[in-house]
C-alpha cells in the first residue's frame, strides 16, 4: 500500500469546496461509472449547473445535503494516484458546523482552504484558518477559486495572497502554498491550466502529492498509552496499545506512569511473531522484563524523557453540543486511554473566531471556543497538544448521556496548589461542593411517624457514603435530644423545631455537604420556608407517603398506642394534622415500596440531577 496523506478542505458556503473535491475524484479516475450515472441523474434533478455535471453532488452524502446544497457532516473520501493515497475530509463551511470542521481537522495532515477570488478573505476564511492552526496543522494550501470570474487576473490572486500572508503570520501558519484554480472546469486541480500562463506553480494535485508531512510525534520520545492488559494465562502479560510518539526496541528502559515503576522491554509480541522494534503509529504489544503493575490508562514512556503528570490544566475547549458548557459543572474527560473526572472552572475567556478577540464568558455554547481551567479528580499523564496530540487532545464526555460534548487541547499544567494566591480565594459553597465532587443539597424526607423515613434516610446515606459522597443525616429524634431539647410538640414548637433544622441544613449545605433531613415536618409552610433558604434545585422534598393505618401498625416505639390512649398529646395523625406535600420532588409509596427501592429511587434522582459528580 502507498502511504496515505490525509487532508481536509474548508471554505465558505459557496466557495466551491465540494465541487473541488468532486473534481479531484473525477479527474483522478476515482469516480466509478455507476456513480457517474447517478451523478448525471442527480445533476439534472437538483444540480446547479444545468445540463452539466454538478460535481458537488458526488460528495454530499446525506439526502438533506444534496437537497439543500450544503455540507452538514464530515465525509471522508478516498482516491489514489500512482504516487500517493489520499483521504479527504470534506468538512462543512457554516459556522454552525464548526464542530464538524474541528473533527475533520483533528484527523488531517494538510488543510486546503478555499477562497472565492471575487470575495477575497471572508470572516469564514479567518475562522477556518484559526481552527486549522488551533488543531496543529502545519501545511496549508490556499486554493483561490473561481479565477475565471475575475478574468484570470494575476493582480487579484496576488492581493489575496498578500492578505492571507498577514493572517498566516498572525496564526503561525508557516508553510502556505497558494494556487489559482477554477474547480468547476478543473483548472490547476489535477492538471496545470493553460488559462493562467502567469502562474508557474504546481496544480493542486501535484502540491498534495509532493507535500512532505512529518508528524512531530514520530520524532518525539516514546509514549504508549495502554489500552489493554493482555493476560491469557498466568505466564504471559502483554501491554497493548498504539504508539503515540517515538519508537521502542527490545531492551529499551521504560517507566510506567503515573506510578513511576521502571522496567525494560523484554519482548514486542505480534500475531506474526516477535519484533525487534516498533514505530510511532503502530498498534503493538509489549512484555516488560519485571513484574510491575500496569493497568489500562497507564502510559509506558521512555525512561530518560518522561512527560509531566498533573491534575490541573489550562486548555482550549471546542464545545460540540447543544447543551452549553457551564462553569463549575463536572464532566468526564478521556485523554489517551485515561478517563478522569474534571470540573471546568473558571472559563478564562471565549475566543471570537473572527476577530480572535478574548471575550468574558460564563458558558460556552455549541461551536464556541474558549480557554478554560480544568481540575481533575486524579493526576493524568499529559503533554501539550502541540507536542503530542494523543496525550494533549482530550474528549469531554457528558456524565449522564455519555455523549461527546467537547474537545480539549491542553496548553499547559497549572500548579495552583503551590500558588500563594490560592489562599486568598474566597471559598464559596459551590467550590466546597466541587472539591467534594458533588452538588450541595438538602434532601428533606417528610411523612408520618412510622412512615419509614429514618430507615430510608439511613440506607440512602450509606449508599452515598459508599459512592464517596460527603453527607450528614439530621434525624428528628437525634436533634430533639440536643439542639432542640428545649422544644416540645406544640404547633409553635414544631415550627421552631423545623426552622432550626432548616437553618442547620443550610449551614451544612454551605459547607458543601449533601444533607439528609428526616423529620415528620407536618406543615407545608415550614417546609416551604426550608425550601426557600436554599437555591432552586438544592432542596429535594421526598414525601414518604404511608397511610396512617400502615404507619400505626408498625408502631415501633409504641407511640401510636400511647397517643391512642391519650397519654401522648399533639401526635401527628392522631390529634395533630399532617399537611401532605402538594408537589414534592419525589413521592415514595411507604406501604408498597420497600426502603431499599425507595433509597435507590432517591439515588437515581440525585444522579439524574447531577448532584453526584
Amino acid at each position: 500500500m502507498l502511504p496515505a496523506l490525509r487532508f481536509l478542505t474548508c471554505g465558505s458556503v459557496d466557495d466551491g469546496k465540494s465541487t473541488l473535491i468532486g473534481r479531484l475524484l473525477h479527474d483522478t479516475g476515482s469516480v466509478p461509472e455507476d456513480q457517474l450515472e447517478q451523478l448525471a441523474a442527480d445533476s439534472r434533478r437538483v444540480g446547479t449547473r444545468g445540463e452539466q455535471a454538478d460535481y458537488a453532488l458526488l460528495v454530499d452524502g446525506l439526502a438533506a445535503e444534496r437537497e439543500q446544497g450544503i455540507t452538514i457532516d464530515v465525509a471522508y473520501r478516498y482516491f489514489q494516484t500512482p504516487r500517493r493515497r489520499f483521504v479527504v475530509a470534506d468538512t462543512p463551511g457554516h459556522e454552525q458546523y464548526t464542530r464538524n470542521m474541528v473533527t475533520g481537522a483533528s484527523n488531517s495532515d494538510v488543510a486546503v482552504i478555499l477562497i472565492d477570488a471575487r470575495k477575497g478573505l471572508l470572516t469564514q476564511t479567518r475562522r477556518h484558518s484559526y481552527l486549522v492552526s488551533l488543531l496543529g496543522i502545519r501545511d496549508v494550501i490556499v486554493a483561490v477559486n473561481k479565477m475565471d470570474l475575475v478574468g484570470f487576473d494575476p493582480a487579484v490572486f496576488a492581493a489575496i495572497g498578500a492578505d492571507f500572508g498577514v493572517l498566516a503570520q498572525r496564526l503561525g501558519l508557516a508553510r502556505v502554498t497558494l494556487i489559482p484554480v477554477v474547480a468547476v472546469d478543473g483548472d490547476n486541480v489535477a492538471t496545470r491550466s493553460d488559462r493562467m500562463p502567469w502562474y508557474d506553480g504546481p496544480a493542486l494535485l501535484e502540491a498534495l502529492e509532493s507535500v512532505q508531512v512529518e508528524p512531530a510525534a514520530a520524532a518525539g520520545p516514546f509514549r504508549l498509552p495502554v489500552q489493554y492488559v493482555n493476560r491469557p494465562d498466568a505466564s504471559f502479560r502483554g501491554y497493548a496499545g498504539r504508539i503515540a510518539s517515538g519508537h521502542i526496541a527490545v531492551g529499551d528502559p521504560v517507566l510506567v506512569l503515573p506510578g513511576g515503576q521502571r522496567s525494560r522491554v523484554a519482548r514486542i509480541v505480534h500475531a506474526s511473531g516477535d519484533l525487534a522494534r516498533a514505530e510511532c503509529g503502530a498498534s503493538t504489544q509489549l512484555v516488560l522484563a519485571d513484574h510491575v503493575d500496569v493497568a489500562r490508562g497507564d502510559v509506558l514512556v521512555a525512561a530518560d524523557a518522561p512527560p509531566d503528570i498533573a491534575d490541573q490544566f489550562e486548555a482550549t475547549l471546542v464545545w460540540m453540543h447543544a447543551d452549553p458548557l457551564l462553569r463549575g459543572r463536572s464532566y468526564l474527560i478521556k485523554l489517551g486511554t485515561q478517563l478522569a473526572s474534571a470540573t471546568i472552572s473558571p472559563i478564562r475567556y471565549r475566543v471570537d473566531v473572527h476577530s480572535f478577540e478574548h471575550l468574558a464568558a460564563d458558558r460556552l455554547e455549541l461551536n464556541e471556543i474558549g480557554v478554560v481551567e480544568l481540575e481533575l479528580d486524579r493526576p493524568v499523564v499529559f503533554e501539550a497538544y502541540d507536542a503530542n496530540p494523543t496525550l494533549g487532545g482530550f474528549l469531554v464526555i457528558d456524565r449522564l448521556t455519555n455523549a461527546t460534548v467537547g474537545a480539549g487541547l491542553i496548553r499547559f499544567a497549572l500548579r495552583r496548589a503551590h500558588n500563594l494566591h490560592w489562599q486568598s480565594l474566597e471559598i464559596d459553597r459551590a467550590q466546597r461542593a466541587v472539591a467534594k465532587r458533588q452538588r450541595a443539597c438538602v434532601i428533606w424526607l417528610t411523612g408520618l411517624s412510622g412512615a419509614g423515613k429514618s430507615t430510608i434516610a439511613n440506607l440512602l446515606e450509606k449508599r452515598l457514603f459508599t459512592l464517596g459522597k460527603h453527607t450528614y443525616l439530621l434525624d428528628g429524634d437525634n436533634v430533639r435530644h440536643g439542639l432542640n431539647k428545649d422544644l416540645g410538640f406544640t404547633a409553635e414548637d414544631r415550627v421552631e423545631n423545623i426552622r432550626r433544622v432548616a437553618e442547620v441544613s443550610r449551614l451544612m449545605a454551605d459547607a458543601g455537604l449533601i444533607v439528609i433531613v428526616s423529620f415528620i415536618s407536618p406543615y407545608r409552610a415550614e417546609r416551604r420556608m426550608a425550601r426557600e433558604l436554599m437555591a432552586p434545585g438544592e432542596f429535594v422534598e421526598v414525601f414518604v407517603d404511608t397511610p396512617l393505618a400502615v404507619a400505626e401498625s408498625r408502631d415501633v416505639m409504641g407511640l401510636y398506642a400511647k397517643a391512642r390512649r391519650g397519654e401522648l398529646r399533639n401526635f401527628t395523625g392522631i390529634d395533630a394534622p399532617y399537611e401532605e406535600p402538594e408537589s414534592p420532588e419525589l413521592r415514595i409509596d411507604g406501604a408498597a415500596e420497600g426502603a431499599e427501592a425507595a433509597a435507590d429511587r432517591i439515588l437515581q434522582y440525585l444522579e439524574a440531577g447531577a448532584y453526584l459528580r
Binding site: P32, A41, G61, A75, G336, T401
Partner: protein, 189 residues
C-alpha cells in the same frame, strides 16, 4: 430481511455492540458514518446528530438503551481489503472468484440462477456467463459482474483498472440515491 434479523438478534441477546465490515468508500451515506455508530433503542441511526470522532480518541460509552455498530474498517477501500487478503493469504469464499455461472440479466444486473428460488420472468433464459461477485448480500439482491479474475492477484489487478463501484450489483442501493441512508436509519448495518 437483514435489517429485521439483525434487530431481532440484538434485542434477543441484548448485545451492546455489533461489529461490521462497512467502509466509507462503499456508498456516499456510509461516507458519513462513524467508526463507533450509536443507534437508539429502536436501532435508528440519526445522521444529523452523530458523535464527533477526533484524533485516535474513542468514546465508546453509551447511553442506556443505546447500541453500537462498530466499523473498524471504515477507512479501508475495496482495494485495501484485497491487498490485505493477499498479504495475509486469507481464505476467501469462492463466489468472489470468476467462474462460469448460470445468470439472467434483469434491470441491467446479472442475477445468478442456481436453484429454484428465483421465479423467472417471461422471456428470461439463464445463460452461462463468466462472473464473480464483488459484494455478497441477501439472495437474490446481489448482482454478479462479468470478470475473468480467478484469484486474488487477478482481483487486485482488476480493481486497479475498474471503473465501476463495488456496490453496482446491489439492488438495495437503487430507488433513489438516498436509499442506503433510509435503510441505515431503519437499523440496517
Amino acid at each position: 430481511m437483514k435489517t429485521q434479523a439483525l434487530r431481532q438478534a440484538l434485542d434477543l441477546h441484548r448485545f451492546d455492540a455489533a461489529f461490521g465490515g462497512a467502509r466509507r468508500d462503499e456508498e456516499r451515506s456510509r461516507a458519513k458514518e462513524r467508526v463507533l455508530s450509536f443507534r437508539n433503542a429502536q436501532h435508528r441511526w440519526d445522521p444529523r446528530n452523530q458523535r464527533p470522532e477526533l484524533w485516535h480518541a474513542w468514546n465508546a460509552r453509551k447511553r442506556s438503551g443505546e447500541t453500537l455498530r462498530v466499523f473498524p474498517l471504515s477507512n479501508w477501500t475495496e482495494l485495501d481489503v484485497w491487498e490485505y487478503i493477499a498479504r495475509e493469504q486469507l481464505a476467501v469464499v469462492p463466489l468472489y472468484f470468476a467462474a462460469p455461472r448460470p445468470v439472467v440479466e434483469r434491470d441491467g444486473m446479472l442475477i445468478m440462477v442456481d436453484d429454484g428460488r428465483l421465479p423467472l420472468l417471461a422471456g428470461e433464459q439463464p445463460a452461462q456467463r463468466r462472473v464473480r461477485f464483488r459484494t455478497l448480500g441477501c439472495y437474490p439482491l446481489t448482482g454478479a459482474v462479468e470478470s475473468a479474475a480467478a484469484n486474488v492477484a487477478d482481483i487486485i489487478a482488476e480493481l486497479r483498472s475498474s471503473r465501476w463501484s463495488e456496490r453496482q450489483g446491489r439492488v438495495i442501493d437503487r430507488d433513489g440515491g438516498a436509499s442506503m441512508e433510509m435503510k441505515k436509519q431503519e437499523g440496517y448495518f
